[in-house]
Amino acid sequence: MRNRAIVFLLLASSFAGAVVLSLSVGPLPVTLGQVFRILSGGSADGAGETAMRVVLTLRLPRALLGALVGGALSSSGVAFQALLRNPLADPYILGVSGGAAVGAMTARLLLPGDSFLSLPLCAFLGAALAASVVFVLARRRSGVSRERLILMGVIVGAFLNALIMMMVALAPPGRIPGAVYWLMGDLSLGTLGRVGLLAPYVAAGVVILFLLSRGMDLLLLGDEAAFQSGLPVERVKTVVYLTASLLAGSVVAFSGLIGFVGLIVPHGARSIVGSGHRRLLPAAFLLGGTFLILADVLARTAGPSGELPVGAVTALSGAPFFLYLLRRNGGKP
């Protein structure tokens, strides 16, 4: 038990460390001391007002957005892996990403002018629509089978991906870059307002999943066994599916398609705290948030030619680390 407390303390403090690091690193020099002074409500003397505004209106929203997005994607990934009993499941497996992407591209191509707010909204609607379509298609009178969910998700996903390719091929050239960067994952849209808009969705989703921890534990045993231990299997599956999809959809709406986090962080967290969902979900949230914040620091600062797509940095920097983490554990997923 004490061991577990120490593990969570470590996870929480590395999370806090990542936030502080991301606040102090960037093209404009801001020292750690200044960061602490700014955070404690004082003014940053010396570098002055600019440093304070850069930290509070540029870096802090990005760090918070990274925390929310990384945490939500990891939690959603945990839920999908339990629901589908498949270690390869991630938040995007059932068409959420395709739906969000089509929504975002539509906003980008069809809505003229300032698409900064309409893009997240359309992406969310697209994700919700795709997730619902997959669910309705997979449903039978006897309930929702995993195989049908995966099959329908893959078909709908393929259809939506084809739509995206058509849109890219037919779009006027000037409108493409924004959409392409969004598809590769992008935290630069982070503002405090958007973080405030996203936070309730993520909080609600994560809390609902946490309350279903025991249900997910049982789902891992298979429907039959879960049913025999008194779990309302179909209802739990429905709620987990919708919650995890909407969690992923709301996050995708603000950050684009950030891969790897939702797939691999759950495995990393499992290798640290085991597969009981009551511990796994919070650990995955913290680990995912920490990881995405650090990946974004790299994306912002490491590239010689400006900002890198954070969706590529996650896999590039994360793959070696998580390989190490998983191999250390004797390779059990």
Binding site: L28, S188, S305, G306
Partner: protein, 322 residues
């Protein structure tokens, strides 16, 4: 009676034309080197290093890029064009010519159907494989890829030779060269820090080695994105603040709007503080053709307006808060 003026006229005519023959011979002699250059068969190396051979002056030409179409019009040989891309919109008459697809997706079948005896293409926009297919079918393809203004002028001269109007090509190139020269001789100080962006969301700027970089440097500007590697770096808002450009030029294209208020409210950036954000015609600044000189003159005009205002109120320009 009637014959008199007639015969007198003929006599006068004979008397008046006896000098014509020697002068014509002389003129021909002068024109000889010119004619030798323009004579066919003609073999010229293109920018791929391929020796392109034309047996006779081309009569049917397909252009696979808007800048090349503009050059053909500049040389007055638009009568030869039997195919252009769907992006060829200048001069306006170019848009009425038969289309053979786009720049990255030229339609090989349509090009062949147009029966050209010369295809003008680019080294970096048109797909190499499709050009090779055309060549395999016996259609001469001349590929150009000018990387700077000097190379654009040279390209105009070479296309002039290919189209049988070497003199016109040389004259047009010379006059463009002179205009660019004039811009570079204008007053160059103080030197503004300039960010030339091709996209405002995300912010993508032109780095070293691009045409836009040259458009900034020739009239005496410093490229604020010069410290980044790569030709088109993507900047975060913080990168933009750190770069601190005095002037921001926007290559206006479909889908490129102004900066969002989230970005433009950063008064730390002099260009935002003083309202020195200027949108230029995207076609002008991105096509390595004759109108790039007009773009250069436009940029120079923006710079000199900035210099004048700066000279008028040096204190106001430097004030850091507003």
């Amino acid at each position: 009676m009637r014959r008199l003026p007639d015969s007198a006229g003929r006599a006068a005519g004979r008397a008046g034309t006896h000098w014509v023959l020697p002068v014509a011979v002389l003129l021909l002699l002068f024109a000889l080197p010119l004619r030798v250059q323009a004579s066919f068969p003609l073999v010229m190396k293109d920018d791929r290093g391929v020796s392109v051979r034309l047996d006779a002056s081309p009569r049917r030409v397909v252009s696979l890029a808007p800048n090349l179409t503009e050059i053909v019009f500049l040389l007055g040989r638009e009568d030869l064009l039997v195919g252009v891309t769907r992006f060829c919109n200048y001069p306006a008459r170019a848009a009425a010519l038969p289309r053979v697809g786009g720049i990255v997706d030229p339609d090989v079948e349509r090009i062949v159907a147009a029966d050209p005896d010369l295809v003008l293409c680019t080294t970096d926009g048109n797909p190499k494989e499709r050009v090779r297919v055309l060549e395999a079918m016996g259609i001469p393809c001349f590929a150009v890829g000018p990387q700077n203004l000097a190379a654009v002028f040279h390209t105009i001269e070479r296309i002039g030779k290919l189209l049988g109007v070497p003199g016109k090509g040389r004259r047009e190139a010379e006059s463009l060269r002179a205009r660019a020269e004039r811009v570079s001789r204008e007053k160059r100080t103080p030197s503004p820090r300039v960010l030339f962006v091709v996209s405002t969301s995300p912010i993508i700027a032109a780095g070293n080695g691009t045409f836009l970089d040259e458009l900034v440097r020739i009239p005496g500007g410093r490229n604020a994105a010069g410290r980044f590697a790569g030709r088109y770096p993507r900047l975060s808002v913080e990168d933009l603040i750190a770069a601190g450009p005095d002037i921001i030029l926007v290559a206006g294209m479909t889908g490129v709007e102004g900066f969002s208020p989230d970005v433009s409210r950063w008064a730390e950036v002099p260009a935002f503080r003083n309202g020195d954000v200027v949108t230029l015609d995207g076609d002008l600044v991105t096509r390595p053709g004759p109108r790039m000189v007009a773009a250069l003159e436009g940029v120079a005009k923006v710079f000199s307006a900035w210099r004048e205002r700066r000279a008028a109120s040096p204190v106001g320009e430097r004030g850091s808060t507003r």
